[in-house]
Amino acid sequence: MQLDSKIPEGPIQDKWDKHRFDMKLVNPANKRKHTVIVVGSGLAGASAAATMGELGYEVKCFCFQDSPRRAHSIAAQGGINAAKNYQNDGDSIYRLFYDTVKGGDFRSREANVYRLAQVSVEIIDQCAAQGVPFAREYGGQLGNRSFGGAQVSRTFYARGQTGQQLLLGAYQALAKQIGEGKVEMFTRTEMLDLVLVDGQAKGVVVRNLVTGDVTSHSADAVVLATGGYSNVFYLSTNAKGCNVTAAWRAHRRGALMANPCYTQIHPTCIPQSGDYQSKLTLMSESLRNDGRIWVPQEPGDSRVAGSIPETERDYYLERIYPSFGNLAPRDVSSRRAKEAVDMGKGVGPQANGVYLDFKDAIGRLGQDTIAERYGNLFDMYQQITGENPYQVPMRIYPAPHYTMGGLWVDYNLESTIPGLFVVGEANFSDHGANRLGASALMQGLADGYFVLPYTIGNYLATQKDGAPSADSSEFKEVEREVNEKTQKLLNVDGKRTAEWFHRELGKIVWDKCGMARNEAGLNQALEEIRNLRGEFWKDVRVPGSGKDFNQTLEHAGRVADFLEFAELMCEDALQRDESCGGHFREEHQVDGEAKRNDEDFAYVAAWEFKGVGEKPELHKENLEFENVHLAVRSYK
């Protein structure tokens, strides 16, 4: 298989304009003859479905929640980047492009990133016009903040609920199209497989989660906007329902999966409190603007924070990174926290956190100012831990948060299966080996509002025959396979819950393919995952039937796919014998910092499925850096 990224010719600033002109258009009268399936209603899916409905296509949109408004995007807190330069502080499209390529540790595709920075500007216009209540200054103009260590203020935000407000904007645009009959919405409906006809993506098989009915839907093209796979770790900041099923099923049908080992561990989450823990809660990164991170200098120091004198504290980020201090990038801060806890300096009842201390900030600015800035976060922290962060320092620890890897797509966001497009966190496209704060929302909306609706037209213009019948043998065969898998899950009737298997899997990958990885550990993880998968199919217990609302069955199906996917993630981590961004191979470091190897690894690793338990085949897309000079990413 030859990977063709289809990057348009010409200078980087002109590529997208030129491409938009070169692409074929679908005649307005013909648009309603084309059906497009969109799986997912998060920022990427809702914006894509709404825009394509508005353009006149027949759109069918699916989500597993009871309403499209509940997609996981709703939980994003901090903000969305855009190169508006409203603060007149020297931002530009080029600077946002540059920061994103550098932040991604030179493992992303320049042309895609440049386009992302270009359309970022339009996103803010669109959202403001929809009524998204962004933060404003007293003069009525939009406010910005600096986020995630950026040296310009380019982040737009709506208090600590930016994802919610952006998603409600997209959801409302989608609702309008649903009300007008241009988009048909299927809630509580899970895509369980992709259907190919003559090698092209032409539909999906879904299960109605209330009735258990398994049915097919056909279309001219299929778009996956199904989000990321952080829940492979069991404990993550993602919503409980987030999963890899849709992407994994597409992968099994021939779509290559790119860079699955690139996962982002967010440094500021509330540490685990016990074995029953069901998820981890993110504390917005913005807290690092005023909080100071420290641990006791001596391992095993069990004194309460207030009794540890200044001279016996280690403000390790300020010490190691004097210029960035507490604002060092996510991957770097996370690794340093792990290091401190591994050395026995962890704090809290389980010695599994580090302090994020606001004492100095409260002393300098007053409690009211801190409350104004972070009041809702402080309340949330207190609600969860029972501790008052105005009086004692917060405890934080890194947690899986975002996945840069995903289905491989070309410049048109089309996967290696013709007619299958992938948008949002589900694709691998823009963030390389590490994503910058406030860039996921930007990418989801860029893909959905401004890129896909153009590029999919170029494909649809070639599809003259219309969607195939959903009664054809290709669909019936996939339906049969889906029913068979459901039955198989119910038939095992073993002794352990799917939840138990999910937790066990989480522990394996968190230990051996989490913040730090090494060859021996990864090999061991591969073996443990295979064994666990074997055990799952012998010993899982799924009560109830497939003919009604059965949440345990839903979860078991997702765990089954995670058990296959996890193996590929570790395989990819093993193959990438360098450190870059969120992928830290212990064998490759200088003074504890990631050591990239551009000579041998400046490529995208795209994997082809060869069967469960079979070695997947690696394909490489070489990355060319013509605009941003390859350099060591230093934050010292």
Binding site: S67, I74, A129, Q130, A173, I178, G179, S278, K279
Partner: protein
Amino acid sequence: MKITLQVWRQANANDEGRFETYHQGGVNEEMSFLEMLDVLNESLINEGKEPVAFESDCREGICGACGMVISGSPHGPKKAITTCQLHMRSFSDGEEIWLEPWRAKAFPVVKDLVVDRSSLDRIVESGGFISVRTGSAPDANAIAVPKSNADRAFDAAACIGCGACVAACPNASAMLFTSAKVAHLGLLPQGQPERFSRAVSMVATMDQQGFGYCTNHGACQTACPKEISIDLIAMLNRDLAIGALSGA
């Protein structure tokens, strides 16, 4: 700690439903309320029984998926939080806790504690938006919005669509939910062109979907995890009156 749970079990919309009693030991104060139910469900599965169906997704109070009536109060005894944000430290050892689904004509039960709230989506589909074609928007700073209006619009936009207001209301009205959207959009200059027709059409859909009328009880405001104020209902009524008069 130990607690006794009286849980509403109902196989589907046609089933009559009944309370079942579970004695739950090994509860830890640090657990969230839903984690306590996870533990119950694990043990039910291990005993070969069907787990209790309840909804949740984000588990941090923002998606609006979770929600049940806990000993008579939607989202439980604490103010301004969702069910998923409730922790066991808010209960005492030996307490008996009653769990029921949202009860409203417009929210048929799907199973146990899960209800169908798609009627709320129908209300939004009939007008809860600003019509703006993708790509046709002016520069975001071309429309200045006074900060106080933006802040008030935000307060209204914070609604998570959980339906607790409906469950709390003796008439099972969705006025608080509807007014939150009408106020959010109506407070912004971008929302003016459709302001009155939006109010008329969303309220008409609310009626069609089987929600009741508002008789100013205020129970909705007390139950709302996002502290949406009933003052917004007054705003909605004003827009509705203007809309009706002008034939919007």
